[in-house]
């Protein structure tokens, strides 16, 4: 046997499977990993510090940029924490819209995860399939907020505007003939809700497609089964939440256990794994997409039959309508105060968490009674997950590092903040 000396290897920060700017210092013995030391912070923008210098509403847009593949879920936690301190009520229709978009976001996130994870460990085509459906959901974002990613759609007290009555449509170009455009626009003729309804009809078959490509695929199983096993006890110790915790067989989901908005009125199940390996976490996330689809459908059905306000009418917090501003002195004052100074929040401390696609996304908000947050701390689910990387990759091969980074669903926007 030749003498194998251990050596150190640098991985990233520019590496296609590092999912952003992850720099890993790997200590290797042959091809086996002895220690992995993630160096993070290359995308640190000081969101928490910036938020301290702005009125509350101006930071909503920053929330989108935290976990930039599940934008609205981040906004949700932030907005919830403000609402909790202000003690204001959110209209029911707004709650349904929020839940619907949270679940759309979950599907968006899981699709990107699935595509990127599969691409990392050698399955090219899933990426293309996943982006096909992501495109449709991005269009929903666009229809409702005008932006495809950084929506800034949620507001303390509701959502910024009601669902639109038409969908953005494709236009004829020199690369797309009229016939193709008409086919693409077929589902986009009705309202946004019609389009989403149509999507929920199509989507389960799409998930079946991904599953035919992966679930029983021999290579996929070789790369994921028994890789990165985390026991229940370790999952607790390491602070796992979301699919990472459920993959280890713990039935914990904030949507069921500490329901916020209208999740307690909806019918859905929580999938859990048994072994806590990469394959189980894959199965959990696939099933979550199906369950999210179910939730989206229930929300669409409710929203089609029920109208109402989509934002609180407390004009100290939410802007009055344009018409009111032009006719009513008091509304004009509210409008002016809101956009020049914002609103003050009573002194207090609050922690609000949502079941984000990646785990528990929480916001700790400390207010000293002013119009700006005194301290805002985001609890990013990916942060403890990445901290556990060292433990998860220990004893595995280099190629498994990629599989484990993939299964953790790492996004640097939220980890580095």
């Amino acid at each position: 046997m030749p003498d194998i000396k251990s050596f150190t290897m640098n991985f990233g920060p520019q590496h296609p499977s590092a999912h952003g700017v992850l720099r890993l210092i790997l200590e290797l013995e042959g091809e086996v990993i002895v220690r992995a030391d993630p160096h993070i912070g290359l995308l640190h923008r000081g969101t928490e510090k910036l938020a301290e210098s702005k009125p509350y509403n101006q930071s909503i847009g920053y929330m989108d940029r935290l976990d930039y593949v599940s934008m609205m879920s981040n906004e949700h936690a932030y907005v919830l924490s403000i609402e909790k301190l202000l003690e204001i009520d959110v209209p029911l229709r707004a709650q349904y819209i929020r839940v619907m978009f949270d679940e759309i976001t979950r599907v968006l996130n899981h699709l990107l995860w699935l595509g990127a994870h599969a691409l990392d460990i050698g399955a090219m085509s899933v990426f293309l399939y996943a982006f096909r459906e992501r495109e449709d959901l991005m269009d929903c974002y666009e229809a409702v907020s005008g932006t495809r990613m950084h929506a800034t759609y949620y507001r303390p007290g509701g959502v910024s505007k009601d669902l639109p009555l038409n969908m953005p449509k494709y236009e004829e170009t020199k690369w797309k003939s009229k016939k193709e455009v008409n086919k693409l626009n077929e589902a986009r003729e009705g309202t946004l809700l019609d389009f989403i309804e149509n999507f929920t009809d199509r989507f389960p078959q799409c998930v079946d497609e991904y599953e035919t490509l992966l679930t029983d695929n021999r290579i996929w199983k070789q790369r994921t089964v028994d890789i990165g096993i985390v026991s229940k006890e370790r999952a607790f110790q390491l602070g796992f939440t979301g699919p990472m915790l459920r993959g280890s067989g713990i039935a914990w989901d904030l949507r069921k256990k500490q329901p916020y908005e209208i999740y307690d009125l909806l019918d859905f199940d929580i999938p859990i794994g048994t072994n806590g390996d990469c394959y189980d976490r894959y199965l959990v996330r696939i099933e979550e997409m199906r369950q999210s689809n179910k939730i989206i459908r229930q929300c669409v059905d409710w929203l089609k039959n029920n109208n109402g306000p989509t934002i609180s009418d407390n004009n100290k917090i939410t802007p009055p309508s344009r018409d009111e501003v032009k006719e009513d002195m008091e509304s004009l004052i509210y409008h002016f105060k809101l956009f020049t100074e914002g609103y003050c929040i009573p002194k207090g401390e609050v922690y609000c968490a949502v079941e984000h696609p990646k785990g528990e996304f929480g916001v700790t908000l400390i207010s000293d009674g002013s119009n700006k947050p005194y301290r805002l701390k985001m609890r990013a689910p990916g942060f403890p997950h990445l901290a556990a990387l060292n433990e998860m990759v220990n004893g595995h091969m280099i190629s498994d590092v990629v599989a484990i980074i993939g299964t953790q669903d790492i996004v640097f926007g939220e980890i580095d903040r």
């Binding site: 912070g41 640190h44 910036l50 002194k347 119009n371 942060f383 901290a387 580095d416």
Partner: protein
């Protein structure tokens, strides 16, 4: 502790836990799930006990939040009362968004101690949350014992609080900076650290490498921080 403070806790198990197990400790409930312990000598014992007691097991450490209270309740614009010159129009220049590294100023407006660490605990088995607060005794060199021996996830959280606030966690196995740059100076989330920062980097064509230089941007905060009447009252049940 006195009866009425404990009455704030709605959960029976949590109440029992504090009545039976923390009888001899000095603590204070800020609201129904935030508790402040006034003694840091028994820190590890308290944390270990919260995790391993029979009544409510707080299995997961969700978050560790550092707080710098030195600017607490300070506003940049006095909107409350007028003097003989009318209402205040000036904006004070000494909040973190408005000064540079050279002109920075430390306030001491904290209600108790300057630095505080909030440990956010979650009990999966009994579906309960608890925020445990500890104030750091020393304002100049804030420190607390490390709880990496109790929850492994504390490792990175404590590194983060150290990096951003300069709170030293004694006994931490590897207390390096985590989010800021290699060789960074200062603790950016302290209130006396300027919003615009201290140094910036660019690529020097002559030296053919990346160089550090003092920041060239100017402080630019558009909306003053103001505290309006009626918001000083604290929300207790949030």
């Amino acid at each position: 502790m006195t009866e009425n403070l404990l009455n704030k806790i709605s959960n029976k198990n949590l109440k029992n836990l504090f009545e039976d197990n923390f009888k001899n400790f000095s603590y204070d409930f800020e609201n129904k799930n935030t508790v402040v312990f006034n003694e840091s000598e028994k820190f590890i014992y308290i944390m270990k006990h919260l995790k391993e007691n029979e009544k409510i097991r707080f299995e997961i450490l969700i978050d560790v939040v550092g707080v710098d209270y030195s600017d607490f309740g300070l506003s940049e614009w006095n909107a409350k009362s007028a003097n003989n010159k009318g209402y205040s129009r000036g904006i004070t220049k000494d909040s973190s968004g408005r000064y540079t590294y050279e002109t920075s100023k430390t306030h001491h407006n904290q209600p108790k101690k300057r630095f505080c660490v909030i440990y956010n605990l979650l009990s999966i088995s009994s579906n309960e949350r608890l925020n445990v607060k500890f104030y750091c005794d020393n304002d100049k060199n804030p420190s607390l014992p490390s709880i990496t021996s109790v929850w492994s996830s504390a490792d990175w959280y404590e590194r983060e609080a150290y990096d951003l606030f300069g709170i030293v966690f004694i006994g931490h196995p590897d207390l390096r900076r985590i989010l800021t740059d290699y060789g960074f100076i200062g603790h950016p989330l302290r209130k006396d650290f300027p919003l615009i920062g201290n140094v910036e980097v660019n690529y020097d064509l002559n030296k053919e490498r990346v160089v550090y230089q003092p920041v060239t941007i100017k402080p630019r905060v558009l909306i003053p921080k103001v505290i309006r009447d009626g918001n000083e009252k604290e929300v207790k049940d949030a």
